[in-house]
Symmetry: C2
Subunit: 808 residues, 2 copies
């Protein structure tokens, strides 16, 4: 790395540098317009005719020249300052810019050899853009150097910070569009600089690009007075440099100066921190780039302003077949970049243009940080079996599952302090993962007080009250080749539904791109879940993220509902080893029964679904009824119901089936984990009633199993949007998933049980009323429900005692 | 309204005023602690014993005293300045505060008479809080005066602005917690002041409450230097007043001054604007209130700081049964408010305390704006039939459905310029609703340029590039008794999944609260939908919002998929008339076939589902196959497939069923719109194959219909996450929902069709390949597919011509 260089007027460009930067920029702009418009005649070697134009014009010109401009200048800065830099494109609709720039630097042709540096390659390059069978119009996984899907706006700055964590030598340049800046996630993302450690993390250089307009409206930040904007950005903790203009040679000079100053300032901040000086309040530099929308494009179209207006947002010149004057204007526009100066006879970009690019991996399109799988190193994982809860018999002791997991995560943290982080919205202790603070802290780079708890400039846990930031940071961290987990209250994970969508789509596409290396999976630990939000009430009760997730491609999606602490350990270890998935783990934090020894848990989780013989009394023969369950609370109610049945209706042969891996339920043709029909039928029978207690919305189980043989006999209980501030057992009663109701369900569905069953049915109904009355009167669950455990002394001879409180 | 009063030192409190405000505050704090802890002994008439304490302690003390403080001061300000004000509680976890304050002012007992102003009433008040069968721990619909569910944080400021639109005399005081301030939606919400018209809208007064801590962490805004915070808030366009301290009498004085100044400044701004002066750049006042978390609570608990620390976030004193010293500390805490001074012998609050409250509707708990149904006036709607597309025969002409709707909306706007707004993220023109700009503008209160399009200080359309703001503004607008619609790209509506959840939960609960009057429904118009995001590509393709929505209570949820422009008109009119629902309308904006005359459309939409005889050839008898469809593109492919079948396999009797109201598919026991089984069977038969082309993810149809008789024969095509930047027809081919594939599906499922069918099947497969090859080669759909229309001249004698391009 270079020595710290003071800012000076000499940072501005020499004439030669100016020519190079401008040449690159013109070339990139030419290639961008070519992509949007041209099907053929890529070098304009003949007059432009309508046959050279694509039949459908798709693309966004408006933001593109600005993106090309920043890219060109970063190239110069990378070489001048020996930077290790990546480029995050907030205005991702400007896809042509990133394709053009990575083509110019040579990366594009390396990963897509048919897009060669000659006329034929140019023809392919232009044709493929937004063309059936070609490439998307936005920055996408297909774009080398990208870690930020450019379709849905709002996440660039958050991704940039995620990339910078634990990458001390990395500079993440993030172009923020002034449209995107209006979104919530982007607005919250400005505060991320309070979490960056200048000693151990890299730096983010935001470039706020004010081009003034969105699709049809001006942008807020472009229209507030400049002093107000400056105050805002200083309020965000930045020191902004303004680069403003429309005359390229001037703007090149100011931009070069600003970039040099910013790089020097970043190095100064980092050098101080790395020399051991804890800075008071670091003000990170940033750049505000104010240039016309559609800069260098047509000034006017049909007598109305195009450049500098919202009318240049997409395709400024349209309807070319019917409007020959538009065709002529396009040709003028293209020729204004002087293609003859940019390309040689063969159609290759002239070396004086490409010379601006850095070498090898320093090219932003080739930087391995933007293809994180290249850098991915396995986690050093302790043996998760060492954290197992010891148990002599099922359902005789309780654990807080996430607290057990916390011990494992603590040691994962300790062994991987350069590549594993835990993100969460201020809930890591609330979610009972507090053991991690035995070995690390919450990262926080603002002032600290004595009343604070485990805050430090550096730490493996990053907490902020924004699910958007947690998600985006983790995505950025994973996409640059590291590992992590997001722990969140189950209900509020819906805040990031849209971000999950984009990440899942990204993963789906990357699986089809050979040069994109697999990255670590995105792991959600959803706890404080619906059944234990009795205290926070209705607003905190929503198990629907699973429904949302399973709409995405089966190859990407995994959903786990470990029933106890040992199963959670096994599942978590599996998820931390996996690649290119989204893993959703739902697990409770409240004391809950332990069912399986570690070895049993491993076997059960490996199968993902299985019969629990110790809870069943069908002796491995055909049962009268199957009680199935998925999720810790449904499992508790199900094994309790099975125990009641054994006690009061011992002749009913019950099989208990527990599901850990939800996607086992789906058809093997639909999901890679799907159970073959024969195995499914062996578990669930072909014709017996199945009472399924499920963690979430009950209809999801129907959606997963509708093709199964025995689906007509499947009856599902789950959360049906009934709840308020009450007690845990009242929650399951409100939703008819309590043990007593499950017994009633069995009695109602198993034929021929006779008078004894009718009597029991009435007892169960009375029991429900008695609990309800007790709860409303005392304000708590009845002790026998809260403490109730599986009464068997050992699983070899399960001999349940009568359920306490149940009359004769 | 009072005359404008200049700010002056006389605004501070007299001794008497100070005594009153402080007395109210102490009373509210006492009532808050009582709610969290006490089951009995509400007036502390006997020493506190463990039997008086609730068995489960649930609630959030930390933010509560601050909320009580602001409420007390607002009471004074309302009376002093004759304000019409409501209170939006960002830190909604402080539920006890709002219950206490509305109890003190009398509103609470008016809506809940058993919570009377005597000892028995106090006992009920305390007991019900966070108690089974009682009230939630957060601010909720049950709380008088609230329009903001307090569970999920982030939306208070946005709701406040939604309430202020078109309420020129209303002051919306919005307390923003410093935890909530870290969320994306809140951070974006600060910019909402650029959209408020001081002449025609009311004002929002944000009170940023810095109490310093979240659950376990400090808050960002409390830890940045004050000058940085000031710059930030000025950058947001505010003029902040800082009120900071921990000594109540001092803070009372500063707060009173700040509030008086803020009110005067707001009146000055409004008076200027209403006098016709267009202000340059208005800087709205706001207050920053810096007080200790858990103010007036225990200073220390177990030797560790409580007040002023994250440890007072929830219940500072716990485990009272086991820790008698905590019980004693609680008693000291409660007695510190001097209950004997607050309540008389009967347990009623003393009149010198309650005297602080305003009268009648000016009490914030009783203000009708916070129970918007009270103020709701029907829309003046033009007759939607006047906008009908004229058609002579089905499927012979095309319309852009949303453009047709735009004409209707234009006139709804024109007739309701005080109570109807259109919200959207910069897409109203893109979504082809541009006709509204013939009568209104986009509201924008920042500088305007000549290059702008239909911007004005006042307008019925509010556009910002934040779905969160659009959603929250509309929610706030509806909750205060007005009407509106949110138009959005279908894929990106997932950004507000979590906000929708909270609104749907709010509606579910309000239906059970007699004093909450019905409000206008929340209407989503989702367009630029999945099948026409061929140009923007994969990132813009997600039809899953419907799946998300249908998880909520059936009483609340309506989903409409109008197949053509006339049906869209009929559906939209219906939705604008409805109350207390969430209506999701999915409709395309691209040219699409017209199928039904207006009268037919009304009849069809009223039924919600029906057979299209003109597209069928079963002659009303038992068909060989049912082709069902829901959504405009699936309908196009389905009627096309039916036409092909009539041409090439005329002996196959086809019935075409179209679904507009998706919930008709569900069981009548599950949804009020659910079709009775007999009617469903009459449409879909009991045993014939059903090929269902659906707009969204295909499994949703299975989830809705799994109980239906003929479900085993139901075969659904829909979006299965396959797409990229391509052509419209390629999109349906990629997902196997194209007309040719539907014909193949029929051939594969109708038994006994013989050799001719096998030949046709091959033709269809060839046809698909031919189209695919053409698309990849030319970059466009084949003209015959793009232009293909139902070839019948009239529906009486449908005699389809051979499909063009189909060999023999």
């Amino acid at each position: 790395m270079n020595e710290f260089e003071p800012s000076s007027p000499s940072a501005a460009l020499t004439d030669e540098e100016l020519r190079r930067v401008d040449g690159w920029w013109r070339a990139a702009n030419y290639l961008s317009v070519g992509q949007i418009y041209l099907l053929d005649n890529p070098l304009l070697r003949e007059p432009l005719r309508i046959e050279h134009i694509k039949p459908r014009l798709l693309g966004h010109w408006g933001t593109t020249p600005g993106l090309n401009f920043v890219y060109a200048h970063l190239n110069r800065a990378i070489k001048r300052h020996d930077l290790d830099a990546i480029y995050v494109t907030g205005p991702g609709h400007g896809g042509p810019a990133l394709v053009a720039s990575t083509y110019l630097e040579g990366t594009y042709s390396e990963v897509y050899p048919h897009i060669s540096h000659d006329e034929e390659g140019l023809r392919h390059l232009f044709r493929q853009f937004s063309f059936p069978g070609g490439i998307p119009s936005h920055v996408a996984p297909e774009t080398p150097g990208s870690i930020n899907e450019g379709g849905e706006l709002g996440y660039s700055l958050i991704h940039a910070y995620g990339a910078a964590f634990d990458n001390p030598d990395l500079l993440v340049c993030c172009v923020v569009g002034d449209g995107e800046a209006e979104t919530g996630p982007l607005a919250a993302g400005w505060q991320a600089n309070k979490f960056v450690d200048p000693a151990r993390d890299g730096a983010v250089l935001p470039v706020l690009h004010l081009n003034g307009y969105k699709i049809a409206n001006p942008t807020v930040l472009a229209r507030i007075p400049r002093d107000e904007l400056r105050a805002l950005l200083e309020g965000f903790g930045h020191r902004p440099w303004f680069v403003e203009g429309s005359e390229p040679s001037d703007v090149h000079q100011t931009m070069a100066t600003a970039l040099d100053e910013a790089v020097c300032e970043i190095r100064r901040i980092q050098a101080e921190a790395r020399a051991g000086h804890e800075a008071a309040r670091v003000r990170w530099p940033m750049i505000v780039l104010v240039t016309p929308k559609g800069w260098t494009g047509p000034k006017e179209v049909d007598g109305r302003p195009a450049e500098g207006s919202f009318r240049s947002h997409q395709v400024p010149l349209a309807d070319l077949a019917k409007r020959p004057e538009h065709l002529a204007q396009l040709e003028d526009w293209l020729r204004s970049y002087k293609p003859e100066e940019l390309f040689d006879e063969s159609g290759a970009v002239r070396p004086e243009i490409t010379a601006l690019a850095p070498e090898g991996d320093r090219r932003m399109g080739a930087n391995p940080h933007a293809n994180g799988g290249l850098l991915l190193r396995d986690l050093d994982r302790p043996d998760f079996r060492d954290y197992a809860v010891d148990l002599k018999a099922p359902a005789t002791t309780s654990s807080e599952a996430t607290r057990v997991l916390g011990g494992f995560l603590r040691d994962v943290v300790a062994s991987n302090d350069d590549r594993f982080r835990i993100f969460g919205p201020d809930e890591t202790v609330s979610n009972r993962l507090g053991a991690v603070f035995e070995t690390t802290d919450r990262q926080w780079n603002a002032p600290r007080l004595v009343t604070d708890d485990h805050l430090a400039p550096s730490g493996r846990v990053v907490e902020v009250l924004s699910e958007h930031l947690c998600e985006g940071w983790l995505e950025g961290y994973l996409l640059t080749g590291r590992h992590g987990i997001f722990n969140c209250y189950e209900a509020f994970i819906h805040i990031v539904d849209a971000m999950f969508n984009q990440h899942a789509k990204w993963l789906k596409v990357t699986r089809e791109i050979p040069w994109r290396r697999p990255i670590a999976s995105l792991n959600y630990l959803l706890t404080s879940h619906v059944w234990r939000q009795d205290h926070n009430g209705f607003s905190h009760q929503d198990p629907g993220f699973i429904d949302h997730v399973v709409n995405k491609k089966a190859e990407i999606i995994r959903v786990y509902l470990p029933p106890d602490a040992n199963c959670l350990l096994s599942v978590a270890d599996h998820c931390l080893r996996s690649r290119n998935y989204v893993n959703v783990i739902v697990a409770g934090k409240q004391p809950s029964l332990n069912y399986l020894t570690m070895d049993e848990a491993i076997a059960h989780c490996t199968r993902g679904i299985g019969t629990w013989e110790w809870a069943s009394n069908d002796g491995g023969q055909a049962p009268d009824v199957v009680l199935a369950c998925a999720g810790d609370i449904p499992t508790l109610e199900t094994v309790s119901a099975a125990a009641i049945l054994r006690d009061v209706l011992p002749d009913v042969k019950v099989r208990v089936v527990n599901v850990v891996d939800l996607m086992r339920l789906q058809d093997a043709r639909e999901h890679p984990h799907g159970l073959p029909d024969a195995e499914f039928d062996a578990l669930f029978t072909a014709d017996r009633p199945v009472i399924f207690a499920y963690h979430g919305y009950p209809w999801l189980i129907h959606r997963l199993t509708y093709r199964r043989t025995n689906h007509p006999n499947l009856h599902v209980r789950g959360y049906k949007e009934e709840g308020t501030t009450t007690t845990p057992f009242d929650m399951v009663m409100l939703n008819d998933m309590d043990r007593f109701h499950l017994v009633i369900d069995v009695i109602d569905r198993v034929p021929g049980l006779g008078a004894r069953a009718a009597h029991v049915r009435q007892q169960m109904a009375d029991e429900r009323l008695r609990h309800r009355a007790y709860t409303r009167d005392v304000g708590d669950d009845m002790p026998d429900v809260r403490d109730w455990t599986w009464p068997a002394e050992d699983r070899a001879a399960p001999e349940p005692e009568p359920v306490r409180g149940l009359p004769g």
